[in-house]
């Protein structure tokens, strides 16, 4: 059977000018116009670097998107993931016609409505009911359409009591509920959603996710969903596109693309490894040749660490002092610097030889977050030898959850605790 393509992006690219708009803009504009009237190519369109935030480029222009090609089938829930600045939002802006691409085109067989940051166009002085109409109309509904769905929208939002109160008196959660409710009943053929699930309580999230699933499965409508929340993406999406530096670098099955993305995206330093002592970090007392947080739950030690992984903290050191017995310890801290726990002991390390140490960190202990390892070495008499405040930085990822709640779970640690229930 032929595929039912509802949306098609062909060679979409988007160029931005870096830096400030100022006097320089005028000269570029004039130059561009001068080239244009002579029938020449835009001189500023050729130059452009890969959009990598962290490196300094040569030109004032960057490509936020480069040669984006993809097709979306009717009824698909397509997730789009990528680091900040990878071009996700730019792509959504082009899709929702907020800005035009520099080159290429997007073709669509259905109305596209976007839910980029809910509550767009809400006016604080107007009541909830008035805002439903206004917001609905901004999103492209007619007054008649809204009227026919008004009761459903109010019901879904759960803001019935406050519906005739000005929105400025609403809590932020209520505003989001109301806005999502309007968009959920919008009935476009293609719904674009950007990070809405980060807000709202568990109950509302569940409702919102249920609604999104209804939209795609029950009503056969297409959803494009952008999020940093991998748990949400994995739960909801049938297909995922991952983006990097303005290009698509992965496209396919959700679980596969997400795990590839996580592996490439870890900006942490989970492992340090040196071949010889001269290069190794440390000082005249202690050298560290190798240090790593290894995944101990799977055969591949370098695999992504999630909250259910057991970990090995491995060290290879060379003792260059004149006493074998040294005191070694580490603190595991959050990236903000709170110490989660510390561990250590006194060990006999042969002088001048490589000693391997391993500390077993149990599974189901750390939360999804960034953590750091600080090590310190002392003599047997607790005289300081060497310490390193940020030896390793590593990330613990979240896993797919059963509960349906997709927000961040609070806490520095996330142990799995036993619950007992009894009835009298």
């Amino acid at each position: 059977m032929e595929k039912d393509i509802i949306l098609k992006a062909e060679n979409v690219s988007k160029q931005y000018r870096l830096g400030q708009v100022g006097t320089g803009t005028l000269s570029h504009d004039i130059n561009r116009w001068w080239h244009q009237i002579r029938g020449k190519e835009n001189p500023y369109l050729k130059i452009g670097d890969t959009n990598d935030r962290s490196t300094k480029g040569d030109s004032d222009y960057v490509w936020a998107l480069q040669d984006i090609n993809f097709e979306v089938e009717r009824g698909e829930v397509l997730g789009i993931i990528g680091k900040n600045g990878a071009g996700k939002s730019t792509l959504l802006k082009i899709l929702s016609k907020v800005t035009a691409p520099t080159t290429g085109s997007i073709k669509s067989r259905g109305r596209i409505a976007s839910l980029l940051e809910v509550g767009t166009g809400f006016h604080g002085e107007m009541t909830g009911r008035e805002n439903i109409y206004l917001n609905g109309a901004i999103l492209g509904m007619t007054k008649k359409e809204i009227s026919s769905k008004l009761n459903e929208i109010i019901d879904f939002s759960g803001c019935e009591r406050y519906i005739d109160t000005p929105v400025k008196r609403y809590s932020s959660g209520m505003t989001v509920r109301l806005a999502f409710a309007v968009a959920a009943f919008l009935e476009p053929e293609i719904l674009v959603i950007d990070e809405v699930l980060a807000v709202g309580d568990a109950e509302f999230q569940k409702k919102a996710i249920g609604k999104m699933q209804d939209i795609s499965k029950g009503e056969g409508r297409t959803v494009l969903f952008v999020s940093h929340n991998m748990a949400a993406i994995e739960t909801l999406c049938t297909r995922v596109i991952s983006m990097q530096y303005g290009r698509i670098c992965g496209d396919g099955n959700a679980t596969k693309v997400i795990s590839d993305y996580l592996q490439n995206s870890s900006f942490s330093e989970r492992k340090i490894n040196f071949d010889n002592i001269q290069e190794a970090i440390g000082n005249e007392n202690i050298r560290i040749l190798y240090a790593a947080i290894e995944n101990a739950s799977v055969p591949d030690k370098e695999d992504v660490i999630d909250v259910t992984s057991a970990m090995d903290f491995k060290l290879k050191i060379v003792n260059q002092t004149n006493a074998e017995r040294i005191s070694l310890g580490y603190d595991l801290t959050t990236i903000k610097g709170d110490v989660v726990f510390g561990s250590g002991g006194k060990f006999d390390c042969k002088i001048g030889k490589i000693t391997e140490l391993c500390c077993k960190i149990p599974a189901n202990l750390l939360n999804d977050d960034l953590y750091q390892i600080n090590v310190y070495f002392h003599t047997n008499e607790m005289r300081g030898l060497y310490n390193n405040g940020e030896l390793l930085t590593f990330e613990v990822k979240d896993v797919k959850r059963e509960s349906g709640y997709l927000g961040k779970i609070n806490g520095i640690i996330r142990p799995q605790l036993k619950w007992e229930i009894s009835h009298e």
Binding site: E2, E10, N11, Y16, R17, V21, T25, L26, D29, E41, N42, L45, K93, I94, L95, S96, K97, V98, T99, A100, P101, T102, T103, G104, S105, I106, K107, S108, R109, G110, R111, S114, L116, E117, T120, G121, H123, E125, M126, E130, Y133, L134, A137, I138, L139, G140, M141, T142, K143
Partner: protein
């Protein structure tokens, strides 16, 4: 930079296409019509929210023209001695200011369309022209209220025995106001597009409007400037706004004279400004979010 599309199974049943290049002129009237409810709701929003949390509320609509007219009457008529003929100076000024106010409200309201709506324009698409259109319409309501106060004073002076007579051309007054609105809209769209890139224009507009008022025959009859400043009178004669104000006063108070060539000139300028404004506005709306 043109990429030839190699379309296998060519199916041209796409609902729409998002492309970089704008056609030279593309105002999708059908689309604007589809969004008519939004236009109505924007007007409603502007009207009901503008004076929320003020004690005097819509009275502010009246206070401003009344006090300006009083000031003008004192300065220009009593001190400077501008002669307004048989018409009471206060009524003369009020007529000019009421019409002038509608123009400035339209221009001010539309000239920062892109800047002040950047947040909403950056997230949702709808025909952008809806926003300046809603400004022009909601200001029409404000104008209506101000016009009402003019009528009240007109009746007051009439019964006080002032020599007032209506002119038959008053029936064309709505047409005149429409021209005024379109001129304000066109100029506003033009400026709002330029402000997105060069903020200089927003500074220009604040004092530009003030300056323009003195050149628009608001507080003096057009005749007078030609008489007193024969060398510079042409500046006022080239100002289409002066003809609208002068004609407005002619219709309402039967003073001054109506200049058919002047009005035709105004009409041509208005249409030209409107279409240039629309053109630039259309070009800007596709990419302004990158430069704003």
């Amino acid at each position: 930079m043109k990429n030839k599309m190699h379309n296998n199974n060519v199916s041209n049943d796409w609902l729409f296409e998002i492309t970089p290049k704008n056609k030279f002129f593309s105002l999708n009237l059908k689309e604007v019509w589809q969004y008519r409810d939004l236009l109505f709701l924007f007007v409603k929003r502007d009207v009901i929210t503008v004076y929320k949390q003020t004690v005097l509320g819509p009275l502010w609509y009246l206070i401003q023209p009344l006090f300006t007219s009083i000031t003008f009457t004192i300065i220009f008529n009593n001190v400077a001695g501008i002669n307004t003929g048989t018409v009471p100076p206060f009524l003369f000024n009020l007529a000019g200011i009421t019409v002038w106010n509608y123009f400035t409200a339209c221009l001010n309201g539309t000239s920062d369309t892109f800047k002040s709506n950047a947040a909403i324009f950056g997230k949702v698409y709808f025909p952008r022209i809806i926003t300046p259109l809603s400004v022009v319409i909601s200001n029409l309501i404000k104008f209506g209220i101000q016009f009402f106060i003019f009528i009240a004073f007109y009746i007051f002076y009439y019964f006080k025995g002032a020599n007032l007579s209506l002119n038959g051309s008053i029936l064309l007054f709505p047409v005149l106001i429409t021209i005024m609105g379109i001129l304000g809209l066109g100029l506003g769209m033009l400026i709002s597009s330029m402000v997105t890139k060069y903020r200089d224009f927003s500074y220009f507009i604040t004092f530009g409007i003030q300056l323009l008022m003195y050149l628009s025959a608001v507080m003096y009859p057009m005749e007078l400037i030609k008489e007193k400043l024969p060398n510079y009178g042409w500046i006022v004669e080239y100002n289409p706004l002066a003809y609208i104000i002068e004609t407005g006063r002619y219709m309402l108070l039967d003073v001054g004279e109506i200049s058919i060539p002047g009005l035709l000139y105004t009409l041509v300028i208005t249409i030209a400004v409107f279409f240039i404004g629309l053109l630039v506005f259309n070009k800007t709306e596709k990419s302004f979010i990158d430069t704003v």
